[in-house]
Amino acid sequence: MINWLFEPVPRGRVAWLRSLVYLFVVADVTYFTPWVLHHGEVPPEFYRPVLVARLLHLPTPTPHLVGSLYWILLGTALAAATGRAPRLLGWAVFAGYAEWMVVAMSYGKVDHDRFAFLIALAVLPTAGPARHRDTVPTERGGWALRMTQLAAVATYFLSAWAKLRFGGPQWLTGATLTRALLRRGTDLGTPLTRVPWLLVGAQCGIVAFELLSPLIFVVGRRWGYPMVWLFFAFHLSVFATITISFVPQQVALGAFLPLERVPDRLRGLARRWSVRRRIDPVGYGTGGGPAR
């Protein structure tokens, strides 16, 4: 068990995951959750601090506080994405983003797509130094990635548990997806409400997928990667139908992937593309040109 938790990974993988996670922090505060910045301007009567904010006596958000947090997060996350001072900058980003999340979730609505991402932010500072081209195996890095993987899978598995707790077994055959589509369905998703049996089938499929997600840890590499792509496909289909993206969860799923190989793959693709352009500069392909 200990060996499994600390299974070494190349340091390069840790470095790439760090870059991905910290650049996502930048994208999140500027693009995905800009409404958090607006919370500073919301009248304080609307503030309903979650437990952790009350325990730590965190201040009520103001425009000045949230604005300062925004710029500090941008600066520290961009610096952390380079891989320098991973412990110092990593903890700074974790603390800043945790406060950003407290500001986000303390106004009556808590999102459930952040847990694995927050765990990634909490463990990456402990993963030790790592450069992007470094192939030396690291157990500390392996532990950090394993914790992120466990958190990502726990999010799926415990979501099924929550459905059984709050909705009961009848959740499977209820109209929850119909409600979601009526509330926020896309042009692609809304027509599905005319096929209720398909949505009931999808609900059964979702719970089965969530309950079986821990299998990713036992199926081995051959089936493990297809399972990760299945996770991504699930989120893509949810986004395409009801515009809920779960992007932070998807970033955390990066802990399952050999990220250090991505640059080589991209270079290979670019090389193949440029060779094809040289052989066939006009782009007609080999199937013959236009009719003369």
Partner: protein, 124 residues
């Protein structure tokens, strides 16, 4: 352990260790499903649906604090103040209404019929 405890007995208040309960409640296939919106009237008499970007408050956050608004509709004035901060050039609001649209379902299929229920009203 915290996460499992949060899932078994916790609430959203325990963030980030609370239960992952988004869309975890059950809607019956033959009962109407609810879809809420917030409408506003400004000093020119214009009635419009308030968007999240008009106030900095998300629709789900208003739904999450609905019990407070129902108990004390004067609290909806908070939304009017948030609107003034966000849209300082726009005419102020004189009325805010939280409306729930109940979509009728038969055997899980929306019939296209619905009923709008005015739940909470605030006047300036």
């Amino acid at each position: 352990m915290l996460l499992i405890a949060g899932t078994v007995v916790g609430t959203d208040d325990d963030f980030p260790f609370g239960p992952f309960k988004m869309y975890s409640t059950t809607d019956r296939l033959d009962a109407p499903v609810a879809d809420s919106r917030v409408e506003a009237v400004d000093t020119t008499g214009r009635r419009f649906v308030l968007r999240d970007s008009d106030t900095g408050i998300r629709r789900a956050e208003i739904e999450g604090q609905f019990d407070r608004f129902a108990a004390d509709p004067a609290l909806l004035g908070v939304i009017a103040r948030a609107y003034r901060r966000h849209r300082s050039q726009a005419p102020p609001l004189t009325e805010i209404t939280v409306i729930i649209r109940w979509h009728e379902l038969v055997h899980g299929r929306p019939t296209g019929r619905y009923r709008d229920q005015t739940t909470v009203v605030w006047h300036a």
